[in-house]
């Protein structure tokens, strides 16, 4: 009973929050609603007994990702009302609803369910985090490592991209030119620092 109440409550909240995220014209509202929605989703994870996932959800999404977006928003100065040109809003909703109906239809139809079989059963004796750890470092070790590398690459990429001058290629420049550009760069940085 408790589970049902919790499910419906959080479901309503999540849907509401995400609807705001999608529909609002205030970027700040969108961000906030999004962050709230993420946290509500972690509630489902806890209900479903995926404690570790729930925690990760809060830390990674609400902590890291949302913070990044917040920084991004400040950088782009999109805090004010956004003006977006829209075409055929009806088509968009129609498509969305259609997709939802189909997905739901597929998911609730009992075709697939009969054939599923647990390959890595949850061991009731150990806690969720422990069980995840055991599987992650045995069966999913390689994907895990790859994911780690991917994150590293993403991090470097983020830094490089954010810092790089897109219109100039250092590899193709002569030594003096690089020196000249870096001189200009430093003076510009200095000016910006003053502001």
């Amino acid at each position: 009973m408790f589970e049902a109440i919790a499910f419906y409550l959080f479901a309503a909240l999540t849907i509401g929050m995400f609807t705001i995220t999608v529909m609002t014209s205030q970027a700040l509202y969108a961000l906030t609603a999004m962050a709230a929605g993420m946290i509500f989703i972690s509630a489902f994870f806890f209900i479903l007994g995926a404690d570790f996932l729930g925690v990760i959800q809060i830390i990674v999404y609400t902590g890291a990702v949302m913070a990044l977006y917040a920084f991004g928003m400040m950088f782009f100065d999109t805090t004010r009302t956004m003006v977006e040109k829209r075409e055929n809003p009806r088509v968009i909703f129609l498509l969305g609803v259609l997709a939802a109906t189909l997905v739901v239809f597929i998911l609730i139809s009992p075709i697939v369910s009969g054939h599923l079989e647990a390959r890595y059963p949850i061991d009731a004796a150990v806690g969720n985090s422990q069980a995840i750890g055991m599987i992650l470092f045995t069966k999913y070790l390689v994907p895990f490592e790859v994911a780690a590398v991917m994150l590293l690459v993403a991090m470097i990429a983020g830094i490089v991209l954010a810092g790089k001058k897109m219109d100039k290629s250092l590899t193709l420049m002569a030594e003096e030119e690089i020196a000249r550009i870096s001189a200009i760069q430093t003076s510009q940085d200095a000016k910006e620092g003053v502001h």
Partner: protein, 631 residues
């Protein structure tokens, strides 16, 4: 004896190849002499074989396999029997004479060597045709002579009319060849062999309709080569070739191949008298039809060509009525005097600088005594006056028609005999008698080389005496052909008919002389006679060439053009290009979809997703429905 067979067969081929070696070099007398010599060798071999066959033997060799696949087995087999040896003799005699004659006739021609190469190749093909022991081998020769005829009619290839005539002859023959091919197919699939001996032994066991079809198709084949109506127009046009060619190919040998085929296939035609009657009727029709065209023609060679056509009609009458040996006999006699006539015409042409209109000649007997005598005698033979060759052979055909009770055919042939005599002597009278009209055109005629006349002499002798061979010939060929003697048993009737025919013919000769021997002017198309309908009809060959041109050539040309320009380019190809264009245009139209706008791309992505989902649902629902029903 086999060695003689091979010599007789291959000597002309060797001669042809030898001459071909010099094809591109300037004239050398050597080629003419070697080719003629080799042909003489072939003649001698044929004579030896004739002697051997007369003693009651036949020679049959199988050289090697030609085509063998499945059940089909066609060898290069050659047979020298009573029929083929007669043909061999005719072919070698006439061709040897023509070869020697050509040395003189083609003396000034650039293509001298080439000419001998073609001419000998023709003889080789003709020998293959008559010596083969199966229908496929016959077909080799059949097509071979067609090819050589094409080459020789178009020998003077810079002349538009010559090449046109060559192509016409070839194509018209091809039409008939197709029928012949079909006839061969029917024989093969019903008998399983193409060998004469097998086919003729088995033919009686076949159902009647099939034999009839075989007979019809083979005869259509024969019609093409022998220029029977309605495939006759090529023969007159073929006179564009050098005159020795006309003598050899279009008078003595190739055109008689059709008769030879019917004679050879006598076991087939014996079983189908109805077809035989048709052949005879057509032959009679062609005889009078061609003779009528010869009456008014103003081209010396064409007149002789029509007379050939007419005589071929006679032969087909004989063959169609079952008198095969008579047909073959007339073939032989005709070959001699007709070749002689043509060669004489060649002399006249030479003398007259290739002038062909007899109205522009006249009085040539003073300058060309030898030719005059020869042509007159040949015409006498052609007219069938006793005791020349034509009398014996042609009279036999008339008798055969009479005895077989085909009185209409008999009457037609009799009338044609009169026409024959008339146009032959019209020609002789116009050329050799009367005023010397050629002087108006500033021509100085001269007699041909002596050796040409000497070369023609054997033909002259044969034209005179061939009739006397009748008995020994009869004994010879009736070993193979049905020995039916055509005698009118009532002596009174016999004599009446014979003498009546002779009188009729002589009357026609005299009439021709009376009308034309003192001709003095060159008709210019204004006289009353020339403007009457009958004259125009005849001189335009019953408008048949024109009709063919309008009915077949032009529509075919037009249809071809339509097939290319309208159908091939505008329909077939345009459809293909249309499909390609459709795809291309679809791309052109829909590429705005790829406008680079990310937000519309995203929308397309979602649409794609929805489509995939719909498909997934549809398939699962459908699958379930099927499995449910299966359960």
């Amino acid at each position: 004896m086999e060695i003689y067979l091979y010599i007789a067969l291959f000597a002309p081929l060797v001669g042809s190849l030898f001459a071909a070696l010099f094809g591109a070099t300037p004239k050398t007398m050597l080629t003419g002499i070697v080719a003629s010599g080799l042909l003489f060798l072939s003649l001698v071999s044929s004579a030896i074989l004739l002697n051997y066959v007369m003693m009651g033997h036949t020679v049959h060799v199988e050289m090697m396999t030609w085509i063998a696949t499945g059940d089909l087995y066609i060898p290069y087999g050659f047979v020298v029997d009573q029929v083929s040896v007669v043909m061999m003799m005719v072919v070698t005699i006439v061709s040897t004479v023509v070869h020697v004659y050509s040395i003189g006739y083609m003396d000034h021609d650039k293509g001298f060597n080439r000419f001998f190469s073609y001419l000998s190749a023709f003889v080789f093909s003709m020998m293959v045709l008559v010596m083969s022991d199966n229908f496929a081998g016959l077909f080799i020769g059949w097509e071979g002579v067609g090819l050589c005829s094409w080459l020789l009619i178009g020998f003077w290839y810079h002349k538009e009319s010559a090449t046109w005539a060559a192509n016409e002859a070839f194509i018209m023959n091809r039409i008939a060849d197709l029928a012949m091919l079909i006839g061969i197919f029917i024989i093969y699939w019903n008998i399983g062999s193409l060998q004469y001996d097998v086919v003729f032994a088995e033919i009686a066991n076949l159902p009647m309709p099939i034999i009839t079809w075989i007979g019809i198709f083979l005869f259509i084949g024969a019609m093409g080569k022998s220029a029977q109506f309605p495939l006759h127009t090529w023969l007159a046009d073929a006179m564009e070739g050098p005159t020795p060619v006309s003598a050899l190919i279009h008078a003595a040998t190739m055109v008689t191949a059709g008769v030879y085929l019917v004679v050879r296939a006598n076991p087939v035609y014996d079983l189908i008298p109805d077809v035989g009657l048709f052949i005879a009727s057509l032959g009679a029709f062609v005889a009078i039809f061609a003779a009528s065209m010869a009456l008014v023609n103003r081209d010396m060679k064409r007149i002789i060509a029509y007379s050939t056509l007419s005589q071929l009609g006679y032969m087909f009458v004989a063959a169609g009525l079952g008198a095969y040996w008579v047909a073959l006999f007339h073939l032989m006699a005709h070959a001699f005097f007709k070749a002689l006539l043509f060669l004489g015409a060649g002399n006249v042409m030479h003398a007259m600088h290739n002038e062909l209109d007899p109205f522009k000649m006249g009085g040539l007997r003073k300058v060309m005594k030898g030719t005059f005598i020869m042509m007159t005698l040949a015409s006498v033979a052609l007219a069938g006056i006793y005791p020349f060759a034509g009398f014996f052979s042609k009279d036999l055909i008339l008798e055969a028609a009479f005895v077989e009770n085909h009185y209409i055919i008999y009457a037609v042939l009799l009338f044609t005999a009169g026409l024959t005599a008339f146009y032959s002597f019209r020609l002789v009278a116009l050329i050799f008698h009367g005023e010397e009209r050629y002087k108006l055109f500033g021509i100085h005629p001269h007699e041909a080389y002596k050796f040409m006349l000497v070369a023609m002499a054997p033909l002259l002798i044969l034209a005179i005496i061939a009739g006397s061979f009748k008995l020994s010939y009869f004994e010879l060929v009736t070993n193979l052909l049905p020995a039916v003697e055509y005698h009118i048993h009532h002596p009174m009737t016999y004599w009446m008919i014979t003498i009546g025919t002779q009188l009729f013919v002589i009357l026609a000769v005299l009439l021709a002389y009376k009308k034309y021997a003192s001709w003095s002017s060159v008709p210019d198309g204004t006289s009353k006679l020339e403007n009457c309908f009958c004259y125009k009809l005849l001189s335009n060959q019953y408008y048949i060439p024109k009709l063919y041109e309008e009915l077949f050539s032009k529509p075919y040309r037009e249809l071809s053009r339509i097939a290319w320009k309208q159908i091939d380019l505008k329909i077939v190809d345009a459809t293909v290009d249309g499909i390609a264009n459709l795809i291309y245009q679809t791309g052109e139209k829909t590429h705005t979809m790829q406008n680079g706008n990310l937000s519309s791309m995203l929308r397309w992505m979602v649409i794609g997703l929805v489509v995939l989902l719909v498909l997934a649902v549809a398939f699962t629902v459908g699958y379930n429905a099927v499995t449910m029903r299966a359960m």
